[in-house]
């Protein structure tokens, strides 16, 4: 009698286990969009030492163009721009933060590259960028061509794109590699390096704030580039929402808000909403 009873209990446990497990096993993985909406807060991974994209102001608050873009996304999701939690990382920490699901998406002066897009998904660009060279005035470097001498040292970030550019544009110069833009900047400031390569807006920001010491060389290293929002690949619903939101900022209904943010950080209007519309 007791035996029969025990068997019933085991059967019940088995059925209950199957019932709990089956929807998870059968159904598709839940989209990040639904997770974010349920949570009521957007988690964003970002670099925090790339002015004017993302940096700490005098009060220690995280501010910048990319930070405001993330807040604009929170405004769209929750009608509240403060519903964002920022996770700060070093340059190479951006990818595991996305891969592990620690963050829903990422911003922070991050360039879209085809080889990067193999492991993280990007939206269309929310800003045009490019890579410029910031030099210390003491070095006497005036053009990109000047840079290619073995007496100069150039600071780069620890990604292969920076290393490739260094090899292509100034193979003779010595190379230093750092994991944050702040350390690159410090290297030039302290005389460790004569120059650094970084996104054009950042180079211009630092030059503007250190007029006596630093200059941005004319011209770009290579082509104009795109900075996009990045996320875990494979989640179509989440990607589609973010890409639509970015498209609306640059070419559609949110252009006014986007323009306001652009004006705030760069002191000029963004590229026209549509090429056939006059500004």
């Amino acid at each position: 009698m007791l035996n029969v009873h025990a068997r019933h209990v085991w059967a019940a446990v088995l059925v209950a286990t199957l019932m709990v497990m089956s929807p998870a096993a059968g159904a598709e993985e839940k989209s990040r969009l639904d997770v974010v909406l349920e949570r009521g807060k957007l988690i964003v991974v970002t670099l925090t030492t790339v002015p004017p994209f993302a940096f700490n102001d005098e009060k220690g608050q995280l501010v910048g163009f990319d930070i405001d873009i993330a807040r604009l996304l929170a405004q769209a999701l929750f009608k509240d721009p403060t519903k964002v939690e920022f996770v700060s990382v070093t340059a190479e920490g951006r990818w595991p933060a996305i891969e592990s699901g620690r963050a829903d998406m990422g911003v922070g002066g991050t360039t879209t590259y085809p080889d990067r897009a193999l492991r993280v998904a990007f939206t269309r660009p929310f800003i045009d960028s490019g890579i410029s060279v910031l030099v210390s005035k003491k070095s006497g470097i005036k053009t990109l061509a000047d840079l290619n001498q073995d007496k100069f040292t150039v600071a780069s970030l620890n990604n292969p794109q920076m290393a490739d550019r260094a090899k292509r544009f100034f193979p003779k110069a010595k190379a230093l590699t750092f994991d944050t833009p702040a350390a690159q900047f410090l290297a030039v400031r302290s005389g460790r390096a004569n120059a650094l390569q970084i996104d054009t807006p950042s180079a211009e920001y630092w030059a503007a704030h250190n007029k006596d010491e630093m200059d941005v060389l004319p011209g770009l290293l290579g082509a104009s580039q795109n900075n996009g929002v990045f996320m875990k690949p494979g989640d179509f619903k989440w990607w589609l929402w973010l890409d639509t939101a970015v498209a609306e900022m640059r070419t559609g209904s949110w252009y006014p808000q986007y323009t306001e943010i652009y004006q705030k950080w760069f002191g000029k209007n963004p590229p026209p909403q549509k090429f056939y519309l006059s500004q």
Binding site: A91, E92, N159, R192
Partner: protein
């Protein structure tokens, strides 16, 4: 790509990183022991002011994270006209901090020797150098080697911080590979294993050394 495939392709890239880590750890450990001895000698022989100075130094370095001297020496020294290479700056920072700890370890070992032994040495007519060589040193080695081993292991692990000043040691190598391949877990698991090997070999080395002095 499986983990084994990943290791087969990118494993060889770690060799330079491994060499840098081992090289810096080696010379910084040696320097730290020497510096620790110097600090101890000052403390024991330079009177009250010497002892106070060493005490202040030890407090300063024991109570600050080692990343601070690393940054300071690397970025601030060029401003005062001393553009030493990163390896020298990083090693120096590790020596300054670990020397402070090691001087304390050695001091503890010297204090562990019974005062009576010094009187005995004197009554046997040993000069101060002979007292040091025949009485103090053999006992200090026995007492201090396990603790020194721990300190060297800590120093070895702290070399990972030198990735912040552009030294391509193991951790920097993993960061570069993460950026290059996106394989964060693989890159850092390999590094963890390599550190494990380095640390275990160091521990074995110190155990052998301890055994050797123990039974003399």
């Amino acid at each position: 790509m499986s983990f084994a495939q990943w290791v087969a392709i990118y494993g060889p890239t770690y060799v330079t990183g491994l060499a840098w880590t081992a090289f810096i750890a080696l010379w910084a450990s040696f320097g730290a022991v020497v510096w620790g001895c110097v600090l101890l000698l000052i403390r024991l022989s330079a009177g009250r002011w010497g002892a106070c100075g060493v005490d202040a130094y030890v407090q300063l370095f024991r109570n600050t994270p080692v990343l601070l001297p690393i940054y300071l020496i690397y970025f601030a020294f060029p401003m005062i006209g001393l553009p030493w290479p990163a390896v020298v700056c990083g090693g120096l920072a590790l020596i300054l901090q670990n020397g402070a700890y090691i001087s304390e370890i050695l001091r503890g070992s010297v204090n562990a020797i019974d005062r009576v032994q010094f009187d005995a040495a004197k009554s046997l007519g040993l000069a101060s150098w002979s007292t040091f060589r025949k009485v103090v040193l053999p006992q200090v080695l026995v007492y201090s080697i396990p603790a020194l081993g721990n300190q060297v292991v800590l120093l070895l692990k702290d070399t990972s911080l030198l990735s912040a000043i552009s030294i391509t040691e193991l951790t920097m190598q993993a960061k570069l590979l993460t950026e290059q391949t996106g394989a964060a877990y693989e890159a850092f698991i390999v590094v963890a294993l390599l550190y494990l090997v380095l640390v275990s070999s160091t521990e074995v080395l110190f155990r052998v050394a301890h055994h050797a002095v123990r039974w003399r």
